[in-house]
């Protein structure tokens, strides 16, 4: 880490709410940190925790998960399932020695472009404070170099 650390974050968005919030942030020309790269899913319920692991293992420093507000899911109640998985995933991460704060769940409706932009900015700063994860550089959480990547992730 020579210069200042710029986190790389993968963001998962729901097609019906947060992806549209990102569209809205764009249309309204709201500015936010360029560190987040978004992936569109049909629903936050589609989020397989494997995706988060894969992103972290492939070099992301943090993962942002976004979905419809509770009670507003396009598919009735699937965001609750995303919430359950998220809470479980954080415990797993903790057990693996990764700060659970590297994964964050945010609710953003299609009307909340500003909220999404603000949440992205906040999260980028949170990850910046945590420092690089560098899982892809074959380093374990304790800083020891490994022969193999910390883990192989397959779907």
């Amino acid at each position: 880490m020579s210069e200042t650390f710029e986190p790389v974050i993968i963001g998962f968005t729901c097609n019906w709410c947060s992806y549209r919030a990102a569209d809205l942030a764009g249309t309204a020309r709201m500015k936010y940190a360029p560190n987040v790269r978004l992936i569109r899913l049909m629903c936050s319920g589609r989020l397989d925790p494997t995706f988060v692991m894969k992103a972290l293992a492939s070099g992301a420093d943090g993962v942002l998960i976004t979905g419809c507000h509770p009670g507003e899911c396009h598919y009735i109640e699937q965001n609750y399932k995303a919430l359950r998985r998220y809470l479980l995933l954080r415990r797993v991460l903790k057990g693996m020695g990764i700060a659970p704060e590297r994964v964050k769940l945010v609710w953003a409706s299609a009307a909340e472009g500003l909220k999404l932009a603000q949440e992205i900015n906040t999260f980028v700063e949170e990850i910046r404070a945590l420092g690089p994860l560098g899982w892809n550089r074959k380093l374990a959480g304790n800083g020891h170099a490994l022969e193999q990547p910390a883990m192989e992730v397959t779907a």
């Binding site: 790389v8 993968i10 992806y19 549209r20 990102a22 569209d23 942030a25 764009g26 249309t27 020309r29 709201m30 500015k31 936010y32 360029p34 790269r37 978004l38 992936i39 569109r40 899913l41 049909m42 629903c43 319920g45 589609r46 989020l47 397989d48 925790p49 494997t50 995706f51 894969k54 992103a55 492939s58 070099g59 992301a60 009670g71 899911c73 396009h74 598919y75 009735i76 109640e77 699937q78 399932k81 998985r85 932009a117 892809n136 550089r137 779907a155």
Partner: protein, 670 residues
């Protein structure tokens, strides 16, 4: 980059759009193009171009030409949001003979150029987004739209005014409708009302012709005293099971003469139609104009069913239509579409104990007053106190009972202001009593509503703005002796007032049906935390639901007045007719499917699907997804521990590849 070795990489074309200067002012489009061609060449990119406006016909022709001449097998367009132009570019691919689902849009406008300022950083991010899309599109599979034939028959659940309207619209267009109603007669709440605001035309006069029309229409099959117990299938092909409760009256023989009702020796309080204010016989039709005209025997109260004797109705029936041996019957019907018009329940006024309903005799609910003011009601239209004879000299009408109140329901029931104004008018007209209205805000927004408010004001009704604290009979002085005292803070005068009245009418709000949650699960529609059914879009699609083929109308989606319910019934019918006329419905091919070989039968996915799309085969111990019911959310795909479920359009392979692509620069830097 761990690409499978051996297999040939598909030929990908990348098209970067300037969008005028919308993209190019923050993203170095030329650099992205060059980089895509060079760096992504190893991933299969054979051509990368940039163009001022990719979405223009010339831009699209560029893509079409390359597909044909260069034999492109995948296309990535780096431009705006897929919500804007995904269909445009899928169309271009389709015209050139490429499966439309092999085209991806990389959003470098909404997600890059419009939200970032530093050109170098934005260009790098744009590259990552393009790389993500390229890696993803390589894993895309050709998909075909799913076409499902539509059964022309329709089920309407709920025979209130919204359901009747919907049924008539569809039946008049020449298609068969099954109208299911839980009560013995159609008509719903409207049949209980006396006058309707703001025109004051009598509810029965405008409703009963519609009921009669629905009852005699050759295309409408009435299933009254019946309930839907099971729904299977999907848009165009629903199989619905309806429970017909036993009437103990053979409707083939019954002429509706009413002799059985006349001869029945037992009376019980009518809690449903007369709101507890009047009585009905044990064999009864809810009201004189009931449709159908056949009576029902109330078995739990019938002397014959209790003691085994009586049978007066059977003795006197001239056509031998009484049949005590009837059992409940289940009928199965096939329909293509369903309209839910299941209506509302009234708020239970007993819950607001400080208003004394059920404790203080002369506190009435709005529905009791409706029955009382109805000429066919228990008092013959006389407005009297609970003793049945004394006319009130002063009447207090309290708005928002159970509505706009954090303790009960936060929402406005929308009809209570107008209903209360109507009551004030009727009380004045029939008794000449002094009328007080206690309101929080007066809400009269629809056509001719505010004019009616002005009219009631001019008639001399007294308006007190303030939420009533309590209704009590504890008198503090002679003036209050023997009266009901309404304690209220008059917020316009800025003081506490105690107003003695003879009669209090509580304008109770609407609530979702007590069984709305079960109904929503039965039909696979969404239900808000309040219990109202959720529209597909509250403004632009208020009668559709997230479940294709299931529409909603009337108060089942929230409080509404009669005109709005009728409009929604007609709108839902238009939606259904539109589907029927298309003869088949086209569904997006974004669906989940289960590999029957891999499925271990653990059933984890079964409980995750809110659309009942996952069927478990007990015999083979595997689950299967019905593609027409699946809405494509992918929750089951993410949950399957065996990896047996795959989701088209958003497969694990696609998402994992996209992650690889998005993080390509990070990995290249290592």
């Amino acid at each position: 980059m761990s690409a499978e070795s051996g297999s040939k990489k598909p030929r990908v074309g990348v098209y970067v759009c300037h969008c005028g200067t919308n993209i190019s002012h923050t993203v170095d489009v030329e650099q992205v193009r060059e980089w895509a061609e060079k760096t992504l060449g190893a991933e299969g990119v054979v051509i990368a171009r940039d163009y001022k406006f990719m979405c223009s016909s010339l831009g699209q022709e560029l893509i079409e030409k390359d597909i044909k001449e260069l034999g492109l097998e995948r296309v990535v367009v780096a431009a705006c949001s897929p919500h804007l132009h995904e269909l445009t570019f899928r169309g271009a691919s389709k015209r050139a003979g490429l499966n439309p689902y092999l085209t991806e849009l990389a959003s470098i406008r909404e997600q890059v150029s419009w939200v970032h300022t530093d050109k170098a950083v934005a260009t790098e991010k744009a590259k990552a987004v393009v790389a993500g899309a390229v890696e993803r599109v390589i894993k895309n599979e050709p998909l075909e739209e799913i076409r499902v034939p539509i059964h022309p028959d329709t089920l309407v659940v709920g025979g209130g005014i919204a359901g009747i309207q919907a049924a008539l619209e569809i039946a008049n267009a020449g298609f068969k409708v099954y109208l299911v109603e839980r009560e013995p007669s159609i008509g719903g709440h409207m049949a209980q009302f006396d006058k309707t605001f703001p025109t004051l035309d009598c509810a029965a006069c405008i409703l009963t012709p519609r009921m009669f029309e629905a009852g005699t229409h050759p295309n409408i099959e009435l299933l009254t005293w019946s309930e839907v117990t099971h729904v299977a299938g999907y848009v165009g092909n629903f199989t619905v099971t309806v429970k017909k409760k036993p009437r103990y009256v053979n409707t083939d023989l019954c002429t509706g003469c009413g002799i059985c009702v006349e001869k029945c020796p037992k009376k019980v309080v009518d809690d449903v139609y007369e709101a507890g204010l009047g009585y009905r016989k044990v064999v009864y039709t809810p009201f004189a104009q009931a449709v159908p005209k056949y009576p029902v025997i109330d078995a739990p109260n019938c002397t014959y069913f209790q003691k085994g004797t009586c049978k007066a109705c059977e003795k006197f029936c001239p056509t031998n239509a009484i049949d005590f041996t009837q059992k409940e019957e289940y009928v199965t019907i096939q329909v293509g579409n369903i309209i839910l018009a299941t209506g509302y329940d009234l708020f239970d006024a007993r819950r607001v104990s400080n208003y004394g309903y059920g404790r203080l005799a002369n506190v009435f609910t709005s529905i009791e007053f409706e029955r009382m003011s109805n000429a066919a009601g228990p008092t013959g239209g006389n407005i009297v106190l609970r003793d049945g004879k004394t006319q009130p000299k002063t009447v207090g009408i309290i708005h928002c009972v159970g509505s706009r109140d954090k303790n009960y329901n936060n929402y406005c029931s929308s009809i209570c202001c107008m209903q209360s104004l109507k009551f004030a008018h009727l009380v004045k007209e029939r008794t000449g009593a002094t009328v007080y209205e206690f309101y929080i805000d007066m809400r009269t927004p629809m056509k001719a509503y505010d004019e009616f408010y002005q009219r009631v004001l001019e008639e001399g009704t007294l308006f007190v703005r303030g939420k009533v604290a309590q209704v009590t009979n504890a008198a503090r002085n002679e003036r209050e002796e023997g009266k009901l005292i309404i304690q209220v803070e008059d917020t316009l005068a800025g003081k506490q007032r105690r107003i003695p009245v003879d009669m209090v009418i509580l304008s109770i709000g609407m609530e979702p049906r007590h069984d709305a949650k079960e109904t929503s699960h039965l039909f696979g529609v969404g239900c808000s935390s309040d219990g109202w059914f959720i529209e597909k879009h509250p403004k632009l699609d208020p009668v559709s639901t997230m479940t294709e083929g299931v529409m909603i109308a009337g108060c089942a989606t929230g409080p509404k007045d009669i005109p709005a319910s009728v409009a929604q019934g007609a709108a839902a019918a238009a939606r259904v007719l539109n589907k029927i006329m298309q003869k088949e419905v086209v569904l997006e091919p974004i669906k989940a499917s289960i590999d029957q070989e891999k499925c271990s039968g653990c059933r984890i996915c079964n409980g995750l699907c809110p659309f009942n799309a996952i069927l478990f085969h007990e015999d083979r111990m595997v689950s299967e997804i019905n593609p027409a019911l699946c809405q494509g959310c992918g929750t089951c795909v993410a949950a399957c521990p065996a990896g047996a479920i795959s989701g088209t359009g958003f497969s694990n392979e696609q998402i994992l590849a996209q992650i690889d692509g998005l993080l390509m620069d990070v990995n290249l830097a290592v």
